[in-house]
Each structure stands twice: as structure tokens, then as C-alpha cells.
Amino acid sequence: MLKVIKPGLETSVQDWPGRYGFWNQGFPPSGPMDSWSLRLANVLVGNEPGDAGLECQFMGPTLEFERDGVIAVTGGDMQPKLDGEPVPLWESLAVKAGQTLALSFAKTGARGYIAVAGGIQTTPWLGSRSTFHKAGVGGMEGRALQVGQSVPVGDGQGRAGRRVKEAARTPISTTKRWEIEVVPGPNDDWIDEAGKERFLSVDWKLSGKSDRTGFRLEGPDWTFSEKAYDKLPEHGSEPSNILDQGYPCGAINLAGQTPIILVNDGPSMGGFINPYTVPQAAFWKLGQSKPGEVYNFKAVSVDQAQALAHAMREVCSEASIE
């Protein structure tokens, strides 16, 4: 068990890939924003890569261990300390009952991940332990950790002193600027050539009005192709309006003139166009960026995006441990 001394800003239980199989009823996958970091934290402590761990956002929690165990902290640098002593990131370490792990604000990145040998063992909800905050389901009573809660942990035989190779760690941007891959589609033909060129060439600022459902972007207005105007009334008359359709997770959803990247807790369906989609291999960058930082989008093909996901799967494995 982990006792919550301070909950942090929004610390939640997440597993990977999350709650699959219910998109047709409107349930999002949830799961970690940066699955690269959670998966490797799990591998470090001897868990399956997809086991449940803690996602800490902007300001991490303080947790007391109620029994001996092995843990790992990865992702953004929340300056973790064990009983006041700095703890290295991307390394497994032994903890004793009564010791306290304290995370602070994210010095680099935006989200830190904590894995515990044996995994977090909250009751799964619709097949996953991931927290879906907005609906109040999954995780610990459906929401972020609260002071005084005890988070259940399974039995695990982790080994201390295992490290993730330098090259296999998330290369978190230090320039407040991120290159994010996008695959054109499904509705890229609603945007005119000038609009496509603009989208891929200008700076897009991540708005503070962003959360695990959507990342809002600030930038120039969009321009549209003939298709966005010459359409039946059931689409809705605004150019970004389309007859309601299923949304890919990662879609860049154009609501009026505001692009919103639909992320892990996002909607499954709606009536706005999705000209581009962020592939899964780029999600970790969304998870590690802070409001005010800048995205530059780079178009890749479906094949290229799938190759990136495959490469990431190889990285998130025992092969990356030294």
C-alpha cells in the first residue's frame, strides 16, 4: 500500500493501453499521456509494460510506503526525493516501509510516472484500472488521488539498480518547442492548399485551456476547400461542420476555428472535421509539453507513423535496460 501524504496537482492511476473496446458507447481509452515513460517505469520494476502506475501532472505527490518494495520514477523531472535524498530518474530502487517519496514541480516536461513492483491494484472498471476523471470512473474512486488514501499495490519481485539506457529515455524538449508528427486525414480534403501549408509551417501554442480530454491550440485562422461550403444542410453550415462521425484518438478536431487535439479522455464522436491525426508515437510529446509551449507539426504517412509506433514498442522493453 502507498499512503497519500500530499496528492500533488492531479495524480491518477493509469494503465496502458487503457480502456479499449467501448468506443462505440463513448468510453475513451484514458491511460497515460506519455506511455513511453510509464511502460519503461514498469519494465524497470519487473512489471508488464502495461501495468497500472501513477501519472503525476505538473506537481507530483508525496507518498509513504507501508511496506518494503521496489519503485521507479520516469518521465518529466519532478525532482523526486526519498526521505529527503534525491532519487535518480529512470532507475529502479528499493524502498523500506515507512519511507517517504516526495515529488515536486516538473523541472523538465509536464508529467512524471511512478511504477511499483507488483503494480497498482485498484479494482478494474470495464477492463482497465485507468482513471477517467470527467466521468468519475476507474482508478481510485474515479478521480485523482486524495490526501489520506491508501493506494493498493500487488506483490512483486522487483530488482533495484536497473537503469534505462540513456538513448531509450524520452528526449524532453528544453527549448519549449516540439516537433509533433501528424498523419493527414481523415478530413484533410476539407482544407484548402493554403490552409494545409499554413498548418504545417506556423507555430501553434498550447493553450492553458487544455486537459486530458483535449489540447487546445492557438494560431492563425483556417481556410477551407470547396467541400467545406458545398455540402448538404445536415452537416451544419459552418465550414468546419460535418455530419457527425467517429473521432480517432489523437485527431486534430477543428471546432469552428479552434483546433483541439483529442487526447486520452477525449470524445469518441462529433460533428466537426478532423483534418489531421497525431499518431500514438507522438503522444508522449503532448504529455510532456506545458501550456504556452509551441508545436510545429510535421506530416508523415500512415506507414511512417506505424513504423514509429513499432520502434517505440521495441524501446519500451527489457532491451532498453542496462
Binding site: 462505440n24 470527467k134 501528424v182 448538404l232 452537416h235 467517429g246 497525431v278 500514438q280
Partner: protein, 289 residues
Amino acid sequence: MIYEEPRYLPGGDRYMLIEFGNEMNLELNFKAQGLADAIAEQKIKGVIETAPCFASMLIHYEPEEISFGDLQGEMHTLIGSLGPSDTIELDSRLFLFPTVYLDPWTKECVADYIEKITPKQTDPEFVAELNGLEDVQQLVRVHSGTEYWVASLGFWPGLPFLMPLDPRSMITAPKYNPPRTWTPKGTVGMGGAATAIYPEHLPGGYQIFARTPVPIWDTEKRFPAFERSICLFQPADRIRFIPCSVEEFEAIERKVEEGTYEYNIIEYQRFSVANYKAWIGTLDASKRF
């Protein structure tokens, strides 16, 4: 229009959107639902889940198990094997929903949007004018004068995307630009030609002008209607909105809180596509209620 060949569009590295056409037409919804059922039956390798909607279906697949090209091939074959919709006859539950039209809560929400986000004409007046209706009272008659078909669930757990079955009640509206940051729980609204019920206090983009006190999803399953699922509806259900007063709304709200509300569900009817098509063939869609 119904496309001769469906369009297979990529959504990043793990989604495919199949568009069957670009109009609101029960035929297309049957294709989407029929394909989703066929995929579930055949257990197509690499398909994680599907999300059928009015005229399209989204597939979530695992690229480690199936390529985009192979998936497209599989889908082409499956779509070819779907029978004509004319022979379809299926059980269809009818839900009656007490609903306050032109209610104070959505009025307050729209006023808040106008004050804080951007000016716009108030929603019922806007929709009535846009569709050439006499006034907002006629909007209420037209909107509540039809059964709605549950074409799909999405956006939020349990939220139904609804299509009016009576063409005389087909009205259209643009979606908000920018979207609202909040909408009262139970709000009934429309965008494009679709109507929806908001299961919770949520952001949204539809024009809003009514509210129902009856919950449509329930994680605690407090009512027998949720025995099978925490989402009340399933595709092929039908809904009718029954106009009621604010006082009735509040009385029902209290019953819901106490757990004594009795859901009004009619479960003996079957929906025949052939009968439906024959019926709408006799109607003049320009004749409003």
C-alpha cells in the same frame, strides 16, 4: 449522396474511417451498424473496436496485426456481403422522455455563452428562423412531433446521436463556433440535422433549447433500465420527447433522486425498414406540424 464505393480514410496510425455517403439517411446508418456487427461476428484480426455513426464507421485497429491495406481489403469484402436493408426487421424499443422545451436552464446557459464567449442569436429563435418556422412554438411542435432513431452512441458515454424518423421534423442548424464550455446535464440540442441528449454537465457544440430530468447513463445502475449496461440506449432504439412543464420536471427530478422514477419504455414493437420506407414515401417533407 450514397457513394458507389465507400471511402477508406486514415486516422493516424491506428484508425480507419469508412464513409458510406455524405447525407443523413437511415440506409447509411444500417450499412454502418451492419458492418460493425459483421466485424464483431467474424472477429476480424487486428480490429480492436468500431464506432459506427450516421453515414460512416470508424475502426480502431492494431497495425502490428493488420496493415491499412489489408484491413481495407477485408472491409471491402465484408461490405459486399451485407444484404439489402429493405429486408431488415428488428426489435426497437421506444423511450418516452418528459422534456421541458424553451426551458430556463438552457436559456441561462446560452446567455452565459453570449456574455462570456461571443455574441449570437439565442438558440431556439435562431433555429426557428433558419428553418423558416413561424416561431419558437412551432419549433417545439416540429421537434417533439417525431420519433428519433438512435443511430449511434458517442462523444460521451451513453450520449445518443439521433435522427428524426419523420421527414416533416427534419430541421438543421450549424454547430457553435467556438463550442460551449458547459451545457446543463439532460440538455436536448441539435446540430447539423442530428439531435442529442447531454448525459452530463459537458462542453458542447449543438444549439440547445430543451432539457429532460431523466438520466441516460448511470455508473451506479440505480434503475432496472441500466441492468444490462450503464448506458441506457443502444443503436436501433427510438426516442420521443414529451413536452412537460418546469413543475413536472422538478417532480420527476425528485423521483430520480429518491430512486423511485419509473422509466417509460415500450418494448413490444418491431421496426420494419420496408414499412418505414413505404410510409415516408407518402409524406410531404415541406408540410411542418
